[in-house]
Chain length 196, copies 2
DNA sequence: AATAATTGAACGACGGTCAGTCAAAGAAAA
DNA sequence: TTTTCTTTGACTGACCGTCGTTCAATTATT
């Protein structure tokens, strides 16, 4: 037999070693040669692990989102009011701490609009359902603690789309000056209506 | 002097003659040679009018949005209730009639996320402000006709981001089955709260 | 003749492939 | 046990084809 490498781990290593490059230049402005050099491997080896450049961004999103979710769960557990939990949940779109993941996510969104493969669609779908369920748990708690009226459920799911849309607009236009304020405002309005 | 071509018009002609190609394959899967052939011109001539492929999508969006806005204005004038006007306004994201512009807009959004130039950002910004003002006019009418409470203004602008976000999700995930229902529902909920 | 417009051959950069190399680790022979 | 042979997975970079982009030459118009 010969050397057996942990393919999954190496895939992650390669993706992570190109993170800085992708953040600074954007995947479409990087060559495979540069990626290989950054990862300290040959050009051909990149293709042992990825079908093309886009897949590297996909891998990075998967890794970093996993990390982000764990951190976010810890963060939310420290908060008590439902309103603050919801705000913290959506702070991903503006806090400086998540700037890097946000940039990668932006590039991944562009890929998803352009040339998604079935795994990307599946990943996005699972993310969406996962976050929806998570949010539902948070809201349910608030209702059980009698903080909120049960009708809030129908409205809160709209915040997902609202936040996503606001984020896209903040990137593609120069009309959204303060994304945090925009998102927080919307959440506040909702809670002002729905708080008991 | 020699031949004087209406550069602006020819630019439009070239863009429009590649519309079908862009719709069916996506700009990133088309070559300049194909574009030139479709437009009945030489490869070099394409570069007399566009800096790169992305610019062609940009030109197409500009042309088609212009048309769309004119049609939409006519449509809205036929409607009387504010609620129906708002619904019609956002129907862009799901009606079959706008399918082509939506596909182009999707590709343009991907470009705007990836490699926007200053003119694209400026265009997106102007669009956003233009639609915002338009919507404000519609709502203002509703308020003056005593159909709506004045507080609706703060909420209605959120629908822009909501609709945009829902659209992106419907494309990138397979979790949004009925976009029309999702958008109409949100508008209905808002109006149920805000109608006098 | 002068100028505007057009063109497609040529160039070069890049993504992707593949034949070959290498190192590790049995298996077989001594 | 030690040595040698064989197999195999990992890795590589030279090579190839494609495609975006340029530009010298050509055509068309006044």
């Amino acid at each position: 037999m010969a050397i057996i490498v942990d393919k999954e781990q190496k895939k992650k290593d390669i993706a992570l070693s190109t993170k800085a490059l992708i953040l600074s230049k954007g995947i479409s402005n990087i060559t495979i040669a540069q990626i290989a050099k950054a990862a300290g491997i040959g050009k051909g080896t990149v293709y042992e692990y990825f079908k093309n450049k886009d897949e590297i961004v996909f891998e990075l999103v998967e890794i970093l989102m996993q990390e982000h979710n764990e951190q976010k769960e810890a963060q939310l557990n420290k908060l008590t009011s439902t309103r603050e939990k919801v705000k913290s949940f959506f702070s991903f779109f503006y806090v400086d701490e998540d700037r890097e993941l946000r940039e990668i996510y932006k590039q991944f969104t562009a890929i998803s609009l352009n040339n998604p493969n079935e795994y990307m669609v599946s990943f996005q779908t699972q993310c969406y359902l996962f976050y929806e369920k998570w949010m539902e748990t948070i809201i349910q708690e608030g209702i059980e603690k009698k903080e909120l009226k049960p009708e809030i459920k129908d409205l809160i799911m709209g915040i997902f789309a609202f936040a996503q849309g606001s984020f896209i607009m903040s990137v593609t236009t120069s009309a959204i000056i303060d994304l945090q304020q925009k998102i927080d405002n919307q959440i506040d309005m909702l809670f002002d209506f729905m708080e008991k």
